[in-house]
Point group: C2
Chain length 222, copies 2
Amino acid sequence: MLAAAAAVNSPHHARPLRSSIASEGPFGMIGAPMRFARNAEIYGEDEPADFLYQVISGVVRTYRMLDDGRRQIGAFYLPGDVFGFEATDVNLSTAEAVNDVRLLVVKRSSVTARAEHERDLASRLWMLTMRELQRVQQHSLVLIKSAEERVAGFLIEMAGRQSGQSAIELPMSRQDIADYLGLTIETVSRTFTHFAQTGVIALETARRIRFCNRAALNRLDA
Amino acid sequence: MLAAAAAVNSPHHARPLRSSIASEGPFGMIGAPMRFARNAEIYGEDEPADFLYQVISGVVRTYRMLDDGRRQIGAFYLPGDVFGFEATDVNLSTAEAVNDVRLLVVKRSSVTARAEHERDLASRLWMLTMRELQRVQQHSLVLIKSAEERVAGFLIEMAGRQSGQSAIELPMSRQDIADYLGLTIETVSRTFTHFAQTGVIALETARRIRFCNRAALNRLDA
DNA sequence: CGCTGAATTGACGGACATCAAGATGTGTGG
DNA sequence: CCACACATCTTGATGTCCGTCAATTCAGCG
């Protein structure tokens, strides 16, 4: 309800009720907390890129549409992650809530202004950007591998990011995974089944995956 | 001669004779000029990432090796471009000279030190990093397209970067192009000939390409 | 002029996309 | 609480783009 109501307003129009409710994140980001319902748009292409975001809870996807209608998901952002780095003053990608999401939103200009005298804030920002750069580079390596390698790598990545126990909950759909890995939904599904048949994983539900043979999975990652 | 001699010494060991020969680049980078012969290594994986580089002349490629022996070229850097941004303190990629290259080399720590009081140097660095981020994102979009789209996009990219006349000189081999686009050398070659047969380009030599139908090329880029 | 690496061209096969149908899961209203 | 509707996921059959293997041509250089 509340989430849905908040979601219809992009953060560019919404304004926090009082600055006293602003929270401070682990990266020194002071910002307004906001909520977005499942599949709500957080920002869109061609909008001014005026904000930085930190995920409090939930998962965010960013993507770009290709002219032929295909969708390439560039990243999934999990709690703690910061996103919204854009080189230009308009967004080149769209951000959406994969499930219900709470974010910390901060104006970019206010961060850069503060970075002028807080020297280590500037270097933290630079570091975050370079981490993001590294992540994208890593991801582009994935896109030239085989379908099995991509899916195995994806599972390992996800396990590593959510306090990797022996089982993980996937918040995103098969279509999301496919668009992230540059595959089709069918190929992703088939690969999952194949992993299950060979005893590498168990599909407790479609979205809940148990790791039965971590070594085999690492080998498949190549 | 001189180039080859300089190339055997990585910049981490070489030291500029006198700081008075240091030059100032367009990005405020003050650094030592260095030369590298064709195919010489500028820096390697697992070496400490202590330097930033600006291309004065020539072309540089950066790549990462996959476990199966394949090579993924992440970028070609042309005169004016700055490279060497690494999130970790060791390099994750290798940089090599595509042809004979002259570079400006600057210690990273000296840049960050100067950025502490020169506020706009810090923001320039951040901007450069975000540009690089954007470039990598763009490139990862390429990797999910068809072979024709990748090659067309590559030609357009290259034309745009070297004062795009109606013809361009490709400094890199077909293998380099293939490893950049995630294709095989045969597919790249076949696509070139196909473009030539359909009158989109003309192969004046294998490395010199004339654009005969820019509109068609843009259409092929998708 | 022959040698060597780079580029081209051809034949073939395989991995993944596409098309199509069926199974499973989920939310909603009676 | 059940039943229906709709979305998501799975499974199967078929096609195609591009990788692989192999041979030939071309360009640069002693």
